[in-house]
Symmetry: C2
Subunit: 217 residues, 2 copies
């Protein structure tokens, strides 16, 4: 197998790339990196020499001799390399820009401020309790989703951008999964909830779910 994805079942950035690869029906080896066990396997010498950010996911294409981090960059790489599988981005410049912006509303504005290392930082730097870190996550996801729900009112259809699955849906589904963990009130976001449900009817999204991974625990 020439394609490897190093990830963690519950990491939403890993989840995104799994969805994208299943949507494009690309075969790959999934290599679990346990973010908590033994102080975090992402900090091991082997992993950090491959990805000095010590974050997941890391994607390896051995045939091309490329090691790539950053879920959005990995997904756009897959879209460039396998253009004949379903595209994750529309072809027109304006549509493409709008879809990228929706994906980044999640991948830049919501997910980074609620991930594991930040919650660990709040605990170590501000003695945050579990209730406080949960409230922190819920607050930023709610704020981000409030804006996203308004944006989706303009151009969503069955999915975030019309009737084809795009990069925006991939990001949305993995973020809603986190929202549910952090007890965000999803009744406030009917469009987001509807798109989440529509996506989860598709086999690619089902195969990519955290609970369906070999390292789920």
């Amino acid at each position: 197998m020439s394609l490897k994805l190093y990830g963690y079942w519950r990491s939403s950035a890993s989840y995104r790339v799994r969805i994208a690869m299943h949507l494009k029906q690309i075969d790959f080896d999934y290599v679990p990196v346990h973010l908590v066990k033994d102080g975090g396997e992402q900090r091991s010498a082997a992993y950090s020499s491959m990805n000095p950010s010590m974050l997941v996911p890391t994607f390896v294409d051995e045939d091309e001799d490329i090691v790539l981090n950053q879920s959005l960059a990995i997904m756009e790489y897959l879209d460039d390399k396998y253009p004949n599988t379903p595209a994750l981005l529309p072809s027109h410049t304006l549509d493409k820009a709008r879809v990228r912006a929706l994906a980044q509303d999640i991948a830049c504005d919501i997910q980074p401020v609620t991930n594991l290392r930040i919650l660990e930082g709040l605990k170590s730097d501000f003695s945050a309790s579990s209730e406080q870190t949960q409230a922190w996550c819920s607050k930023w996801i709610t704020q981000g989703f409030t804006a996203l729900e308004k944006r989706l009112a303009t151009r969503s259809g069955k999915y975030c951008y019309g009737y084809d699955v795009t990069l925006a849906d991939v990001c949305l589904v993995s973020q809603v999964y986190n929202a549910l963990r952090f007890k965000v009130d999803m009744q406030r976001f009917p469009l987001i909830q509807k798109i989440y449900d529509n996506c989860n009817e598709l086999e690619a999204f089902q195969k990519a779910k955290p609970e369906a991974q070999t390292d789920a625990g």
Copy 2:
């Protein structure tokens, strides 16, 4: 003038788009949105109806009838729409992926966790002092730059990726500007510092500097 950029002089995401537009020598109107005055102009009805995230920048192309947020999406839009001006991304799939990943190392992993709304959140939710918020920013920028310095050792030249200015440099320069504000020890990052200095020799980077904007204060 058909192109408008709503931004704030010291917002690093606004700074990125200004650099990109000056690099591509695109004329635009810069419209300041004061993030602090009167509770934040980004929360006004007029601005939030255009950008419900209530963040800067927002880019408007009146000829195309497009209103776009997210600095990375805006810059890729400019690169798609004006391909004959200097490209911000290399043309080869592998190179493009690596440059996008470098840009996202900054735009997803560093900047979002140190921006104004997060610092306000630390103050309101954890009674963080100014010293503590500065230490928070310094910690995450230092951690991100430590990884980035290692990555740059492989493929940087005069700039982040060889000898042409890319999206990665645009993100790097605006992030170093913030690092200096938050008193990050830049001596630990000689490659980043060198690239920052090389970029700042270019007129486009000089014109985009926070202090050169009409709303600098």
